[in-house]
Point group: C2
Chain length 143, copies 2
DNA sequence: ATCTCTTTCTTGAATCATTCATGTTTATTA
DNA sequence: TAATAAACATGAATGATTCAAGAAAGAGAT
């Protein structure tokens, strides 16, 4: 068996210095398949694939995957933490004020948008995170 | 006594449809005097002015003042809620990754910045909130 | 000034997300 | 296959916030 061109999930974990366990493979796949899911939803997804996994193992796995840069954690105000598989690009999020739905938004103004604050107060800024607030299609039609 | 040109704190509360109580006057002043303070710090500030006030009264007062638009609530990821007195303008925040310090940033690109997402996914967007991440002067000098 | 009504406040408990602690299991590598 | 460090399980703890029910106190009417 030669190494495939596209690394498997297991190879990605090992390449990030993490051990390959069924729980973590399933967790990474659940995050990637999901669309900004929370911890409970991810735990359900993992359990569908590999049987019982404790909630704490899910929390630890999410920390490890986040630290390794394989997934990204976002925390919209008023919501528990959500996780997504899209990493490395600089993208932002729209959050529905009514139902909490989250969608991705590519940066509108280039690769490192908004990184220029008008007055940085002596801070050295390395990232600008934008959250757009509004209503999703469903919620605005109900209005 | 004629009405002053600059409304008093009490008049502002009444004008917003809220009852004028010592606790809420002190709370509004504490928020305005403070610089992005959390609930516990605000409770301390209120108690310095008017004696014992329960934490729940502080929470309720903060909700009421926020709903009335007299103060603004922000919730940087990883931090409990913070409150500020600067409202009505569209400004953003810098958060120190190391110590959590928060500073205000005027919008870099005009009155309603970044409100144009590249793809709104059918959302109707009414606000863009920007959080700049970095290190404050103190934390970056310690490096 | 007093009465009434509604808002605000208090006390105490409950909830939710997340973390901590300890012991056990399991994946890796030698 | 044995040693060891990472990952997992179970159970308890923490911190921020909210809920519930009754007591106190502003605001406007009498």
């Amino acid at each position: 068996m030669t190494a495939s061109q596209q690394p498997t999930t297991a190879e990605e974990l090992r390449g990030a210095g993490l051990r390959v366990t069924a729980a973590r493979v399933a967790l990474l796949e659940a995050v990637r398949k999901g669309d900004h899911l929370g911890v409970e939803a991810l735990a359900s997804g993992v359990r569908e694939r590999v049987g019982h996994v404790s909630l704490q193992a899910v929390y630890e796995g999410l920390h490890a995957l986040t630290a390794a840069g394989l997934i990204r954690r976002i925390e919209p105000p008023g919501s528990p933490a959500l996780f997504e598989g899209r990493v490395g690009d600089n993208h932002h999020h729209i959050v529905c004020r009514s139902c909490g739905a989250v969608a991705d938004v590519d940066c509108a103004v280039g690769a490192a948008p908004c990184l220029t604050a008008s007055d940085d107060h002596g801070f050295s800024i390395d990232e600008a995170e934008v959250i757009y607030w509004g209503l999703c299609r469903n919620c605005s039609s109900v209005s």
